[in-house]
């Protein structure tokens, strides 16, 4: 009898040794249930779990937990994302119990983009605790059945704890240690920032494997298919901690007018195929931002369809 | 109707500007009566308050005449006062006074344009009218 921390579909797939595929769903800018259901239909059957972002880039959207509930109704395994920017430890523990009570089983703990980036830059900062303290807190709630202050929780939440990792942000030498810190704090799975520089990622994974981190935690590599040269350039220059090599931009340009998107998908599929063989990689996290409709073909082309069913 | 004769305070340094003044004098140029000239060792010595006070007392304009940037005897004096004049222009603009009423000029020690520069300022201020 396998013992699970949460029993989520993602956990079962990973524990059974399959190469996992997770997707992402960006909530709408309103109580737009129909849009969420529509996105769910693109992803259903092609991913093992779906991340739901939490006021991504500090822009107000339908809340992550509410969107997760809708996705669960649609038959998907949602991953509730929580950032440290908007909630203090009381609200966090309360919402953690809330999602668990509704059968949401995966949670990703993040710092969150600073509110000055978003649509309400004058808002008050919270950042009561940071992402690593949040990981520890969720682990304490789940495994010890205790609140942060040590008091008992009557029904502890059963959550599969995730965290993010950016192998390309500075200071580079420290990134693998920060990953270790998150795993020490209790992260069960990690999703990396989207990868374009495979060479650097390979070097990073070598260090990860040397430190044995892949044996303590499932590492999912982030992939984002590039829609256009413009998108590639934007990510290369405007997004902190993103490394988009010139060769990729050249390939997209070289594809010809109107063909960049197809080339972008091709590149993504090639990357996934290499990652399937890379030591230490337990799966991929496919972030087809506002391009969810292409997820099915990418998953199929990468030889990852159908998704495994684990009881 | 009485013709408007602007009251001007002109600070000038004892180095280049003073030499320029001497040359003007030798050229038999005369400074207008309504202009009060104030010698200073270096224009860098002029503080923001010194530049504002004349306006409080009713001056229609203030000029500062100093060295060129590469020939200031005290190295950065003229550069400092240029920054201060910019600051005073900003204050004046915010309180409803034309920033053109204060200017700083870098003079060459050998040219006799001391009086010319002041006269140009007078003409400009005549067009602006009295300060109050």
């Amino acid at each position: 009898m396998t013992e699970y921390k949460s029993g989520s579909n993602l956990e079962k797939v990973l524990k059974a040794g399959h190469f996992a595929v997770t997707g992402e769903c960006g909530p709408p800018r309103g109580a737009n249930v129909e849009l969420v259901r529509k996105k769910a239909q693109y992803l259903k059957g092609y991913v093992d779990a779906v991340n739901v972002t939490d006021n991504q880039t500090a822009v107000v959207r339908l809340s992550s937990w509410a969107t997760c509930l809708i996705l669960k109704q649609e038959g998907l395994d949602p991953t509730f994302q929580m950032v440290c920017r908007d909630r203090n430890r009381l609200a966090m523990q309360s919402d953690i119990l809330g999602v668990a009570a509704h059968g949401i089983k995966n949670m990703l703990c993040l710092s969150g983009d600073h509110q000055t980036f978003g649509d309400h830059p004058e808002a008050k900062n919270v950042y009561d605790i940071d992402s690593i303290q949040l990981i520890s807190m969720v682990k304490k709630m789940r495994d010890e059945g205790k609140f942060l202050n040590g008091e008992p929780i009557d029904v502890p939440p059963k959550l599969f704890i995730g965290a993010a990792c950016n192998p390309f942000a500075e200071p580079y030498e420290f990134r693998v240690y920060r990953l270790a810190k998150k795993i020490n704090a209790g992260a069960d799975f990690i999703q990396t920032q989207c990868i374009f520089n495979m060479k650097r990622f390979r070097e990073f994974m070598k260090r990860v494997v040397d430190m044995g981190l892949h044996e303590r935690c499932y590492i999912l590599a982030g992939i984002t298919p590039l829609k256009s040269v413009g998108m590639a350039r934007y990510m290369a220059t405007k997004v902190p901690g993103m490394d988009v090599p010139e060769e990729i931009i050249k390939r997209l340009k070289g594809a010809g007018k109107g063909k960049a998107a197809e080339e972008g998908i091709k590149i993504a599929v090639e990357q996934i195929q290499e990652l399937k063989e890379m030591e230490g990689i337990a799966g991929i996290h496919l972030m087809a931002i506002e391009w969810e409709e292409r997820v099915p073909e990418i998953v199929k082309a990468a030889g990852l369809y159908p998704r495994p069913k684990v009881d | 109707m009485q013709e408007f004769r602007p009251k001007i305070i002109a600070f000038y340094c004892s180095n280049c500007a003073s030499s320029a003044a001497d040359v003007s004098e030798r050229m038999k140029q005369k400074i207008s009566e309504n202009v009060k000239i104030v010698p200073v060792p270096c224009t860098g010595r002029i503080e923001i308050l010194h530049l504002l006070k004349p306006f409080e007392k009713g001056a229609d304009a203030v000029c500062v005449l100093g060295c060129q940037e590469d020939s200031c005897q005290y190295i950065r004096g003229i550069i400092q006062v240029k920054k201060r004049v910019e600051h005073v222009k900003k204050i004046l603009e915010k309180i409803g006074i034309e920033p053109e009423r204060i200017e700083v000029f870098s003079l060459s020690a050998s040219k006799g344009d001391f009086v010319d520069v002041i006269n140009k300022m007078i003409d400009k201020v005549k067009n602006l009218g009295p300060i109050y």
């Binding site: 600073h114 980036f117 303290q133 420290f174 901690g241 | -």
Partner: protein, 222 residues
Amino acid sequence: MIVAEQKPINEILDMIKDLKKVLVVGCKGCVTVCNVGGEKEVSILATSIRIARKKQKKEVEVGEKVLERQCDPEYIEELKDIIDDYEGVISLACGVGPQFIAERFPEKLVFPAVNTKFIGGAIEHGVWAERCAGCGECVIHYYGGMCPIARCSKSLMNGPCGGSNHGKCEVSPEIDCIWDKIVRKLMAQGRLDDLLKIRPPKSWLTARDGGPRKMVREELAK
């Protein structure tokens, strides 16, 4: 020191627009050091107000005074002999000054002429930067002598976040990523173990979050 910045002159003029006699009071403490509220600045502000009001044809009498500090009642007391001549007081001190004046002279209108910004120091002539958030529990020694509460935009205690960008904070290229500095310094000192320690959540009780604070020196207080 406390670093403040003068309010725009129009905001100050608007505050006193209906008054005919105001007293501008400076402070020889922090605001003198950051060239915002000392003797010079008192005169500059007073002169600017007089010019502005003369232009508006609504002349005003502006007195000028500088106190040693505005955060001590014994210095505020020095205003007693002159304050009756004025309807309002414009204080160039940090947020403490105008409040002390308002408390001691409750019948007078008191206006703040500066915006108090942060606790910091001079990093070069004419430039001051924030260094301390007044959190009430200083732990800079855990971080190579640097404070992540004040200097990290997200006050991370286990940083850096993924937005650290070539040594700068994602919020602005003018803000150094303090975690980049902390990590580099501690790694260079061979203190990776310290960096791997998971710092527990901070108690914000000692910070402003716990309510307005007081500090008492028992042996000095009555």
